[in-house]
Symmetry: C2
Subunit: 114 residues, 2 copies
Amino acid sequence: MEKKVMQTYLYDFYGDLLTEHQRNIYEEYVLNDLSLSEIAQEEGISRQGVHDLIRRCDKILKGYEEKLHLLARFLNNKEKILRIRTLSRNYQNGNEAQVMAEIEAISNEILEEL
Amino acid sequence: MEKKVMQTYLYDFYGDLLTEHQRNIYEEYVLNDLSLSEIAQEEGISRQGVHDLIRRCDKILKGYEEKLHLLARFLNNKEKILRIRTLSRNYQNGNEAQVMAEIEAISNEILEEL
């Protein structure tokens, strides 16, 4: 997964455990795609300070994921829901019994893991 | 939702953010269904001490849920997966097109919220 995509996911899941100051700066970098220098100017702190703060946030967010694995669970489920959607879209007359059985099996897999 | 069911869910989601000591006692109470007195004896602490520790854990776990809402998101999705499973199980010859469309719509709802 691309780094910013992963950061966005981690922020979406655990961002509310950061301080407001951390959130503001992390959002500018990860969600709004500002450069370190732009954020430094905006916040009136050094570029290095912004850099360190973002690394620190990365570490905190990854730490939560290493403990809780909620993002991994979610991505695994997302994969399965995408399969269900594809199956329901692409079924053909004649194979609906098989497709329904497959959808039921995937639903069961998801429910067992929840 | 019944209290112990909610505690079990919250523990499943956020339990790894408790200390090992907190986890041990909370598990005995919530998962293994021991009484406060039984845990007190086992751990060599007072019944009141066990009581306070469990209340503290409840508060910590609820605090995470209030910030992150990951359990609420999960329960909402679970509901929808259950609907997909029921639909795939109970479709009849003749209504499969409608059922497939409904499954697709629910999949889309889940994916939009993820």
